[in-house]
Amino acid sequence: MHPVIPYVTAALLFGTGVYGVLRRRNAVLLLMSVELMLNAVNLILVTADATVRAALPATGQVFALFVIVLAAAEVGVGLAIVLQLYRLHATIALDTVALSPPDDTAPLPPPGSPPDGPPDRGGPPPDRGGPPDGTGPRPGAGAEPSQPAPVGAA
């Protein structure tokens, strides 16, 4: 077995991961590239375990297991951050994220004014509920929708 083959494979995998991290704008794709880099490091560790005579046996494989667990933790927290970013900005393109908090919060209030949301959702139910309610509890609900309703009901 010639150890130079997996070594070169790992080096080129790492280069591919670096290229992906620098190239991609999508945060999920960037995390995939980070996984490629971690795999390259694992491959180096396992190959070195087969190549180099260490004081303790199987040290490289033990460290590869540790790195796999670290990668699992990293991707869990990273995806939680990405989902929160999507919830706040409705995009996960990384170069649209402002780095300072005031710039993040300043452009949000004009489009997303909170009081506009509930009236829009609360508006349709009185209109749809008008005809059945037209017979009884008319007075408080709505003056405009109630006027055509009694004509159809009567």
Binding site: P6, R24, V28, L43, L65
Partner: protein, 181 residues
């Protein structure tokens, strides 16, 4: 060239080609599926290198768990189905740095190992690795379990808006995705 060399070269070529597809494809979902191919080929490399337990853990944790998590994130962020052309930044600096890192490391490793050959080491079975972990590496193992717990709690805290953020941000965050839909 022995059969192990041929297997190493073939699996390495598969892993590299799939990794290149991961970083160049225009489909977000296909990038995740190419990542499965790449990680599976690396698991095959581990098997040829006689790291049996690491290969199976790679299949279970990476191909099983991490890729499923990534695909869930693709789903939850409403990634577009079909090709997209706004996934990338301009490529020349990335090509320079990534190619430089890959080729530089390759040259270093080729210079260090030339065409030497080593015998295949004894198989890294679960018994051997477990003995090593619980005899020599107990403390890092326990620290790692604490880190996993911290990452779990951190992921839960981050992904709940009413805990992780201030109230006005939490109130703003709900209409923001709704009005752009």
């Amino acid at each position: 060239m022995t059969s192990a060399d041929i297997l190493l070269a073939g699996l390495g070529a598969i892993a590299l080609g799939a990794a290149l597809m991961v970083v160049t494809t225009k489909h977000v979902v296909r990038a995740g599926l190419w990542l499965v191919v790449s990680l599976g080929a690396v698991a095959g490399l581990y098997l040829v290198l006689a790291a049996e337990l690491v290969a199976w853990v790679q299949m279970l944790l990476y191909v099983g768990a991490v890729v499923v998590l990534l695909l869930f994130a693709v789903m939850l962020t409403r990634a577009p189905i079909g090709a997209r052309h706004d996934l990338d930044r301009p490529g020349w600096p990335a090509l320079l740095v990534g190619g430089g890192a890959g080729l530089g490391l390759s040259v270093l490793l080729v210079d260090a190992y030339r065409w030497t050959r080593v015998d295949t080491p004894p198989t890294g079975t679960a018994e051997r690795l477990g003995t090593e972990i619980f005899r020599s590496w107990v403390l890092p193992f326990e620290v790692l379990s604490v880190l996993l717990l911290a990452a779990l709690v951190g992921a839960i805290v981050i992904s709940r808006p009413e805990i992780g953020s201030r109230p006005e941000i939490g109130a703003r965050s709900r209409p923001a995705p709704g009005e752009r839909r």
